[in-house]
């Protein structure tokens, strides 16, 4: 969309009022990054909203400030990024899991340069452990010797690197999506595919924002490759539009 029709469209106004859909939001955010004029326009709209609100401002009752501060004083700290102190034993367990994972990765794919990734992978895994509700399940999967680790690499000059952890016995697939090319995140929807007998099979959309870097995907029997494509619609497409990343062919293990 060109800048002028974007500004005329009313999308920025919707965005400022918190009314834009997810799709509109990503379009607006992309335009804001690309065009300083759009930012100026956004600032003017926000300024007007603020001016309006201040003009109709009404002092709340005098007791209210103290009441709010009292209530806040009694609340626990909001959920903060650092690992909670009580999780120390779990953390040790995490480190063992990470070590095991890296060992498995190393044994599996000695020549793939996986160890270069070790630090980033560990950070990502730590994130996962903090947020994932199914961490026990993930632990079990990572410790399982049937878990296969597949690197999904950028194609045709695309910078990107994702990992698929797949276990035919447990019929589980987990994708580490921290490594999808970040530069193209704005306004593009990622879809994951399993290639079965040369045909791409939909594994669903990748939710970058909500999954803290890790996402469980459906297990697809007989996959020889995994691929990630860029799509124009939030719900994806029946066939990949632009394949961004693709794994090398993987040896099919015996499916459970």
């Amino acid at each position: 969309m060109d800048l002028q029709s974007f500004i005329q469209s009313g999308l920025l106004e919707s965005y400022v009022l918190g009314q834009a859909t997810a799709e509109e939001r990503s379009l607006v955010e992309r335009m804001l990054i690309q065009h300083p004029e759009a930012r100026t326009e956004q600032a003017a709209i926000e300024q007007a909203m603020e001016g309006y609100a201040k003009a109709i401002g009404t002092p709340p009752p005098a007791w209210m400030k103290d009441r709010i501060l009292d209530q806040i004083a009694q609340l626990p700290e909001p959920v903060a990024p650092p690992v909670p102190k009580s999780a120390i034993p779990l953390r040790a367990f995490q480190l063992i899991a990470v070590a095991l994972l890296l060992l498995i990765a190393f044994l599996w794919n000695r020549n793939s340069g996986l160890l270069d990734e070790s630090t980033r992978q560990k950070v990502a895994l730590d994130n996962c452990m903090r947020s994932s509700q199914s961490k026990e399940k993930l632990f079990a999967m990572f410790q399982d010797t049937d878990t296969q680790i597949v690197r999904v690499k950028g194609v045709k000059g695309v910078q990107g690197n994702a990992m698929v952890y797949s276990n035919p016995k447990l019929q589980q697939v987990v994708l580490n999506i921290n490594s999808v090319p970040p530069a193209s995140r704005q306004g593009v929807y990622y879809q994951c595919w399993a290639i079965v007998g040369g045909v791409p099979t939909d594994m669903g959309m990748i939710h970058l924002e909500t999954t803290d870097g890790w996402q469980t995907l459906p297990y697809i029997k007989g996959a020889t490759n995994y691929a990630i494509s860029a799509e124009n619609k939030p719900e994806g497409n029946p066939a990949p539009t632009t394949v961004l990343m693709m794994s090398d062919e993987i040896k099919i293990k015996k499916d459970g």
Binding site: G10, E13, A44, Q47, E50, G51, K65, I68, L69, P78
Partner: protein, 188 residues
């Protein structure tokens, strides 16, 4: 000042809430009051708003918009949600305060604001309706299209023009705002 408030908010400094309240409490309360049209409920909503601000402070992203816009949208959403509760429906039935939002001098509103509503009333009817439905009633644009009986595309362009008009009135250095503040200064 603004930057400092933001970083303290993101670092979950409890005292920042008091400073935000001092800076923006009046503006947020005025908007909330117009949405819920009940002083008692507006007081509850404003408290809930600041508790939410405290809980979600770390998630405010300055690259996406001004701090006030973020606060305002939390307050508006909390107020609009409150109007959809059973309590509110009951409250409205037993103690209707229908005219509060537009009774410029009603005792729930600051009498200093007599002039503001007059200024807003100068907006063309179609823009005023739109601002009222979206800003104060929490209608989605689809709901507005249905309510007013115009296509969604027209809602979007009208919203654009309504905001352009509001910008003339309330934007930075707008003459109307300067006149208004001078007037309010005289009144107080």
């Amino acid at each position: 000042m603004q930057d400092q408030l933001i970083s303290r908010l993101q670092q979950q400094d409890r005292l920042v809430i008091g400073d935000l309240y001092t800076a923006y409490g009046d503006a947020l309360f005025g908007v909330v009051l117009r949405i819920v049209q009940s002083r008692e409920l507006a007081e509850q909503v404003l408290q809930d708003t600041f508790l939410k601000v405290w809980r979600n402070g770390a998630s405010y992203d300055a690259s996406k918009g001004r701090l006030f816009t973020w606060l305002l949208n939390i307050a508006r959403n909390t107020a609009i949600d409150a109007t959809r509760t059973a309590y509110f429906q009951h409250y409205r039935k037993t103690d209707p305060l229908d005219n509060l939002a537009y009774s410029a001098g009603g005792d729930a509103l600051n009498p200093d604001h007599i002039g503001v509503q007059e200024v807003v009333n100068r907006l063309e009817e179609k823009y005023r309706v739109l601002i009222n439905l979206i800003y104060f009633k929490g209608y989605t644009q689809e709901e507005v299209a249905e309510e007013v009986g115009i296509p969604l595309g027209t809602v979007k362009t009208r919203l654009r023009y309504a905001m352009v008009e509001l910008r003339k009135i309330f934007g930075e250095n707008s003459t109307a705002l300067l006149v208004l503040s001078a007037m309010l200064g005289d009144l107080s």
